[in-house]
């Protein structure tokens, strides 16, 4: 309530813009420039909803093909698909496995973020994450037995991964990979590459809220990506906390503690596990959205930052000049880098909220 003056000024400017826009509409009714309907394909993949929207014309099959690519990568990278490359590595009992170039490239990025985060982001969490069930398909979701987590923790540690070219070996045979914290971004990048190769000039990839814009938005304006309000839903709460504007082929990805969780005996358990404890990360961040060139980096960075907490996350993001929007559990919003972020400034009941 303390910065009502600024909000009113914003509203005043918006009013002028709106009046001008109204006049423009009144004077240019129907310019006859009919645009083709975008082609949109949606499928349930990666345990979420994935969609591809192609705006440029004559790209009928591209959206479906991009989703087929997504399904193909899921078969290769899922730890729950029996004959996936990841399952083969996990089941090798410490022996060497040969993987595809793509899986090797993804493991290389996973190791990078393991090192950068000093083990806070760790894809060898598989033995622990297998004990947890955050699936919407499960009734009465419950935290695992602490002694089971204790038993699985010694095999967690990215230094157990030995990667040499296309050859992978888990030094501890009990170590299990889970690429869930990074694979979605990697797959989104591959889909964007495919669309670009096919000559698609304008498209959107949405893998369960992990967004990649491809090319330019039709009409030349920047793409506008809304950030879902990560704070618990309450009466009058905004659907989004704001939006970021981006141009060209970039990733706008989010990690948060609000998306997959369950409540047991009054305790809330979210899906981002701390490799040090095997339990959901104790963090002061409700969500973080990063704008990155590659989505694999966006996913690595945002997942890592949630576990690190706002202070360490902010230092990392600022040192590396990464545009990001961090929302703390107390509602405070922090921006880093040159992120083009516009907060939502009026809440449902018309009152001005206290964000920023």
């Amino acid at each position: 309530m303390g910065n009502r003056g600024i909000k009113l000024k914003t509203r005043g400017i918006a009013s002028v813009v709106l009046l001008a826009a109204s006049l423009a509409v009144l004077t240019s009714c129907g310019d006859g420039d009919a645009r083709d309907e975008p082609i949109r394909k949606t499928e349930f993949l990666l345990d979420t909803v994935c969609s591809v929207t192609v705006f440029s014309r004559d790209d009928e099959d591209c959206a479906a093909e991009a989703l087929a690519l997504c399904a193909d990568y899921e078969r290769r990278l899922s730890r729950t698909v029996a004959d996936s490359e990841v399952s083969k590595i996990n089941g090798a009992g410490g022996a060497e496995t040969t993987v595809s170039d793509e899986t090797a490239a993804l493991l290389e990025r996973a190791l990078y973020y393991g090192a950068v985060s000093e083990g806070k982001f760790d894809v060898t969490i598989g033995g622990v994450s297998a004990l947890w069930d955050f699936s919407s398909d499960t009734e009465d979701r419950a935290a695992p037995n602490p002694s089971d987590i204790e038993a699985a923790l010694p095999s967690v540690g990215f230094e157990n991964i030995e990667l040499s070219g296309n050859r992978v070996r888990l030094k501890d045979p009990a170590t299990r990979l889970d690429l869930g914290g990074i694979a979605k971004g990697f797959i989104a990048d591959k889909m964007a590459e495919y669309l670009t190769e096919q000559g698609v000039e304008s498209a959107l990839i949405d893998l369960g809220g992990n967004i990649v814009t491809v090319g330019e938005k039709q009409g030349g304006a920047p793409w506008k990506v809304g950030i879902r309000n990560p704070l618990p839903a309450s009466e009058g709460a905004e659907a989004i906390i704001g939006s970021v504007e981006v141009t060209g082929t970039v990733s706008v990805g989010t990690s948060g503690t609000y998306e997959r969780f369950f409540v047991q005996d009054g305790t809330r358990y979210h899906h981002i596990l701390d490799p040090a404890t095997g339990f959901p990360a104790r963090t002061d961040l409700a969500g973080i959205t990063a704008v990155t060139e590659k989505s694999v980096d966006g996913e690595g960075i945002t997942t890592m930052c949630v576990i690190l907490g706002s202070d360490r996350a902010r230092v990392y993001l600022e040192q590396n000049d990464i545009p990001a929007v961090l929302v703390k559990t107390d509602g405070t919003v922090i921006t880093t880098g040159d992120v083009n972020y516009e907060p939502v400034s009026v809440s449902k009941d018309g009152d001005h909220d206290g964000n920023q």
Partner: protein
């Protein structure tokens, strides 16, 4: 202030009324613009089950839709002015009930998904301010 009521100044009162009317309109508009929202009456609520179209309903008409699939979802469209208009999943028989716990949606392009029932409820059509939503 008494000048306004002088017979020689009838335009002033009209001016004030006009300014007041414009301010009210601009305030309503500004509220919509700053909320990044699209509350056009021509927006629809599009429901799909397992990718197949189940139904399209105008957002301007309050209604309740019960979708039967592997599970049951009860979707409520709360119509009215911009402050009331929203869509939510009011009840479900799915195991996790994540769809019921999902915040109501109001903006063009927003959706609620029930993974166990392979249900998607999305606000489509109308004017679109936001191209995509990240979460």
């Amino acid at each position: 202030m008494t000048e306004i009521n002088k017979p020689g100044n009838p335009i002033r009162r009209a001016d004030i009324i006009l300014i007041a009317a414009l301010l009210i309109l601009a305030t309503i508009g500004a509220a919509l613009v700053s909320r990044g929202g699209v509350y056009a009456d021509d927006a629809d609520v599009r429901i799909t089950v397992d990718g197949a179209l189940y139904g399209v309903y105008p957002i301007g008409e309050a209604r309740e839709i019960v979708v039967q699939g592997n599970y049951e979802n009860r979707i409520v469209i709360e119509a009215g002015d911009a402050d009331v208009m929203q869509v939510r999943v009011a009840g479900a028989t799915c195991p996790g009930k994540d769809c019921v716990h999902h915040a109501p949606i109001r903006l063009g392009g927003q959706s609620i998904v029930c993974l166990p029932n392979r249900l998607s409820v999305e606000i489509t059509g109308g004017e679109r301010d936001i191209d995509a939503f990240t979460y």
